[in-house]
Every structure is written in C-alpha cells, then in structure tokens.
C-alpha cells in the first residue's frame, strides 16, 4: 500500500491546462482584433477607445462562451471576473505610470554636483547643472532625525499603554490615536504655526517643521508598534511575571526585545510617512535655498520644498529640478519601504 502511494503523483485536476486555456486566449485575441477593426471603421479613436472596446468585446465573448457551456450563473461569474480584473488593472496602471515617468524625467537631471551644491548662488530657472540640493537633503535629514526623536518614544510608549496596561482609557486613547492619524497635514502645519511659531521663541526652522511632522508620524508609529506588540505571545509575558519579574522588567527585557524588529519597522514606516510631506513645511520651515546646519534657528530647506518650488516656478528648467528632486525623494521612500518589508513585523500576522 505504501509502495503504491509513493508512486502516485499529486495532481491538481481543477487547474486549467494550456489546452483548456486556448479558447480564452483565442477569444481575447479576437476581441483585440475586433476592437482594432471597430476603431478603424468608426470615428472613435485613441487609446481610450481601444481599451474600452477591448474590455467590452472580451467580457462579452468570454461570458457568452461560459453561458453556452455552463449556464447563466457561470456567465455572470465571468462578467464579474473580468470587471474585477479590469478594476485591479486600473488601480495598478497609475503606479506603473508614476514610477515610469518619475524615473524617465528625473534621471535626466541627475548629476554629482546636485549633492555637493545648494541653490544659494543658483536660480531655479538656471539649467539643472547649476546649483544643487545639498541644502534640501540636509534639511530633510534633520527633519527626519528630529521627528524620530520626538515621535518614536512617544509612539512606542503609547503603543505600550494600549497593549500592556490596557487601562480603562485604552479604548478611548485608541480612538484618539486613530482620529489623530486623520489630521490633514495642512492642519498640522497651521497648528505649529499658530502655537509654537507665533507664541514661542522658536521661529520657522527645522525643529518647527519636525514638530509639525511629528503630529503625522506619531499615530503611524503607534498603530504599527501596537500591531507588533500584540503579536508577542502572552505566554512570554506570563512567563516573565511568573518568574517574579515586575511588569516593567517583563516589558523591558522580554516584550520589547521580542518585538524589536517590528518596532524598527514601525519607525521606518513612520519616517516613510513624513519624508515626502510638503504641506506642513510650507508653514514651518521657511524653505531656505542655502545650507543651514543649525536645526534650531533660521530657515531650513527640504527635498519636498525644493520640488514644490520647482513646480510652482513653472519654467522647463525648474520643472526639471522638480522631477529630479522627486526622483531622489521617491528613491528614499522606496528604500525605507523595502527596509520595512524586509524586516517584516507588520505583515507577520497575515503570514
């Protein structure tokens, strides 16, 4: 018996073989041909017409085939399948377009002096070979660092409150954190202007910008950290406490180390959330064109601000700057994103 079992190979008879797929491919091919033909003989024109007709012909032919061999329910199923596929395609097309245009426009302006020079002695209308965005890089670096110092401890401690203390207020605070994550970025900027810049000695500078960004970063860090802390098995906590450790010791020596990678992920996702924010900076950092090493004083530049200026200026040269700036920003965000994914943590739950 075991011998014969070893000889039988696992099969998946429910999967379609290439032969079974052939009619589908043929019908799609025919639909494509039909849409080309219709575009040729009617006044309809353009990519939109091709796409629309292909969708109509493809859906119709596939569902009619299903109707003939499987009946009405199968035809309805085929229609919905092709609508769902089309919907998903429409969702993912912009992503591809965004990546492609950013890269193709952006690389044209890449050159080394971008990273060594500032806009102090160059104008946005100059060709991109003049000047650079060192000041903006330094500014963005400062903004990220200070925002991290402000938000990560608070985000993680809030997450600890929500997962470890679970006090009577936990549900309410959870609600507040969620509400906070919905605060529009422009409001965060206005708030820091109305509170800190107007009333305290801190004027428009990197630190003021970081305050505004922290309002956006704290809820992101909190929510991700909370998800990660919830994944730490309760046995570990109980084991710690059964050994006579205090709750503080248990959290510090068992829970947090167990969730370490996830907490780093939370931090990275928080940084990714704010690295490209523009609106809050418009009210808080001044948007300097020269290098400023002091994060606590004087106007500061930032990458998004550089892009913003280039876009607003509207000349071909300034727009080239915007594309190149956004490419560098996009690369930064992508790196952060990949780092967060590699460390995992966030998706541990969904396997």
């Amino acid at each position: 018996m075991t011998l014969s079992a070893a000889q039988v190979a696992p099969q998946k008879p429910w999967q379609s073989s290439p032969k079974e797929m052939a009619p589908t491919f043929l019908l799609l091919l025919a639909s494509l041909a039909a849409s080309v033909a219709v575009v040729a003989i009617t006044p309809m024109k353009g990519k939109l017409a091709y796409a629309f007709l292909f969708f109509i012909f493809g859906t119709a032919s596939l569902s009619i085939r299903k109707w003939r061999i499987r009946g009405r329910a199968a035809a309805a199923d085929a229609i919905v399948s092709s609508i769902a596929l089309t919907g998903a395609t429409l969702v993912f097309t912009p992503v591809i377009s965004i990546l492609a245009t950013t890269i193709s426009h952006g690389v044209k302006g890449l050159h080394w002096s971008l990273f060594t020079q500032t806009m102090f002695s160059a104008s946005y209308q100059d060709p991109i070979s003049a000047g650079g965005l060192l000041h903006a890089l330094v500014g963005t670096l400062y903004l990220i660092l200070i925002s991290m110092i402000l938000s990560v401890p608070m985000g993680i401690l809030t997450a600890l409150y929500l997962t470890e203390i679970k006090g009577p207020g936990a549900n309410f605070i959870q609600f507040i954190v969620q509400a906070m994550s919905g605060v529009p970025s422009v409001v965060a900027g206005l708030f820091i202007f109305a509170s800190i810049i107007v009333t305290t000695p801190i004027k428009a500078s990197a630190i003021a910008g970081a305050f505004a960004l922290s309002i956006l970063m704290i809820p992101t860090v909190t929510r991700t950290a909370q998800e990660v802390l919830l994944l730490v098995p309760n046995d570990l906590r109980e084991a710690g406490q059964a050994l006579g450790a205090t709750q503080w010791k248990t959290v510090a020596t068992i829970v947090v180390p167990a969730a370490r990678n996830g907490l780093i992920t939370a931090t990275i996702l928080g940084v990714a959330r704010i690295a490209g924010e523009t609106a809050p900076l418009l009210f808080t950092i001044g948007g300097s064109d020269k290098l400023n090493w002091n994060p606590f004083k004087d106007y500061q530049g930032a990458l998004p601000f550089y892009v913003w200026k280039g876009l607003l200026m509207g000349t071909p040269e300034s727009i080239q700057r915007a594309w190149t700036g956004i490419l560098i920003l996009l690369i930064l965000v992508l790196l952060l994103f990949v780092a967060a994914r590699t460390l995992g943590g966030r998706r541990m739950k969904s396997k």
Partner: protein, 325 residues
C-alpha cells in the same frame, strides 16, 4: 438549618505594585494621554487664533463666497472672508474622488482577496501599500504633467456626449485644472486606503459561510454576492469614509492640479474650483494680519470636518471587524 449563614463576601485581591512598576505605568499612561492633549491643543489653538474671524464674519464665514482683504488709499483695511465656495468645492472634488475611487478599490480588494494566487497577492498588496507611501507632491507632479492632458481629453468627451446632465455642463469649454481632474488625482490617492480597509474586511468573512455557499454550487461571484458583500458592506462604507477624510484634507496634490476660484461652481468639468486646504496655501504667502487669522480659522473648519468624518469612519470599520469574530 435555622441558623443563618452569612454569604461569604468576596475577598479582595490586592497587589501593591512595586515602585518601578508604578513609575512605568505612570509614564506610559501619561504618554498615552499626550495624544489626547495634542489633538485638543490643535483644536484649541486654531479656534483661538481664528476666533476674531469667527466673531467678525459670523455664519457668513461658512456660507460666504468672497475672500478679500483690501487696503484703501487711506490705509483702511476692508476684509470679507468666506469659505463657502471652498467648502462646496471640497465636497464636490471629494465626491468625484469617491465616485471613481471607491468602486475601483472595492473591485481591487475583491480581486486581491478572492481571485489572485497567494504569491502574486503578496506582491500586489505591497504595491497598494507603496501607493499609500508615495508623497502627495509626487501625485501632484504626476497629476499635472501626465494625468491632466489625458483627463482633459476625457472631460471633452464627457462634455460632448453628456452635457445634458447638469454637472457635466460647463459655462465655457475650459477644462484645464478642473474639479474633475483634481477628483481623479484624489481618487488615485484614496484608493490605497479604501482598498486596504476593504481587503482587511473581506478577508475576515467567516470561512464557514464561504464554504456553505460553495458547497451549494455557487460560482465565485454568487458566493461574493450572497456572503462577502452582505458581511463587508458596512466596513466598505467605513473605508470609503476614511478615504473621504483624506480627500477633504489633501492639500499639495489638489493645489497642483486645481484652479482655485472663489465662486460656487457645480460644473465639475469646468476649470474653476475650490478646496479649503488648497486655498489656505494659495493665500498663505501673501497673507498678513487678519487674513492670516482667517486662514487659521479655515484650518479649524477643516480640522473639525475631517475629525468628525474620521471618527465616524473608524467606529464603523471597528464594528464590522468585530462582527466577523
């Protein structure tokens, strides 16, 4: 028997936390409360700074269409501040975004949950998450240079064939930087939010109901219609409202592709629209004194609006997710 035995009173269990624990609990609780403090301060400061505007403009701050700060030759400043047109525009653009974005998101979420094989699913889910991480100025730049030329053409088609529907009509055939285009950009920006919320909810559909439907000879669509959609619909509404909150507050991307005009315009294809957030950055540069205060007041209005929508959305999503457990 006759003796009455007093029911035992529950013994109190007391544990006196050690000092280190009390410090830990105190610190963590205190920090936990900070977010409440921040949220309160945001409302308080914006309301306080905008108070003068609310007082001088009254209800017409919300209903008026005019936004003027004129200094006469004698140096007298005349101010009229109203965000009515901007509020109308904000809602209009957000509705365009929802109308386009929500169906696509729901389809995409269904596709990701029930149609694609596991390995491809992981990749596509990552892409959706990445979309959420794109800076909004990237959407603005792309929207202006790539989407707008296309969308202008679509707008012309809509105008040509559907102008008998009032919202597709336009006073002049001028379709650049219209609420329609801003709505499309916003639609793409809210898709990741609505998709991931919907996906999370669809994935919570009780497996035994799904199996029951399939065991009765259901096709995939019949199963989705009878099991998944009744279960997930209210959660999708919650997700759509989270998207709405995002759409209301989005600034830079909308500003890049919208022609802000202080007039109530219900023709979505026509290149003149409004949006509270864009208006704030449009006017910020040149604003001084009272106008700055008026902009802070506008920020307060925006804050309250998005806060209410988000709170409602979050409670709806939470309730749906609970009902699946």
């Amino acid at each position: 028997m006759a003796e009455k035995v007093a029911p035992p009173s529950p013994r109190e269990i007391t544990t006196k936390p050690r000092v280190s624990d009390r410090v830990f609990r105190g610190t963590v609780t205190g920090v936990g409360m900070l977010s409440l403090l921040i949220l309160t301060l945001i409302g308080l400061f914006l309301a306080l700074r905008g108070f003068q505007t609310f007082k001088s403009e009254g209800i017409s701050f919300l209903t008026g269409y005019k936004w003027e700060s004129v200094t006469s030759d004698s140096g007298k400043v005349t101010n009229v501040f109203g965000v009515g047109a901007m509020l109308i525009g904000t809602v209009l653009i957000a509705l365009v975004a929802l109308f386009v974005g929500v169906p696509l998101s729901v389809l995409c979420a269904l596709f990701l949950t029930f149609y694609v094989p596991d390995r491809l699913k992981k990749l596509l889910v990552s892409v959706v998450d990445l979309m959420a991480a794109f800076p909004s100025i990237l959407y603005g730049l792309w929207g202006y240079f790539v989407l707008m030329p296309m969308a202008e053409y679509w707008a012309k088609l809509l105008y040509k064939y559907l102008r008998w529907i009032p919202i597709f009509d336009a006073p002049q055939p001028f379709f650049e930087r219209s609420p329609f285009i801003a709505g499309l950009v916003l639609a793409i920006m809210i898709i990741p939010i609505v998709t991931s919320v919907s996906r999370e909810i669809f994935a919570q559909t009780p497996l035994d109901r799904i199996q029951a439907a399939y065991a009765l000879g259901a096709t995939r669509w019949a199963m989705i219609k009878t099991v998944v959609l009744p279960f997930g619909s209210s959660g999708v509404v919650g997700g759509a409202m989270l998207g709405l909150g995002r759409a209301f507050g989005e600034t830079v991307a909308v500003f890049s592709v919208l022609n802000v005009v202080f007039k109530a315009n219900f023709h979505i294809l026509y290149g003149a629209g409004g949006n509270v957030a864009s208006m704030i950055i449009l006017k910020w540069g040149e604003a001084v004194g009272d106008e700055t205060k008026a902009l802070l007041a506008a920020g307060f209005v925006l804050f309250v609006l998005t806060l209410l929508i988000n709170m409602a959305a979050n409670s709806i999503v939470k309730r749906t997710l609970k009902s699946g457990k």
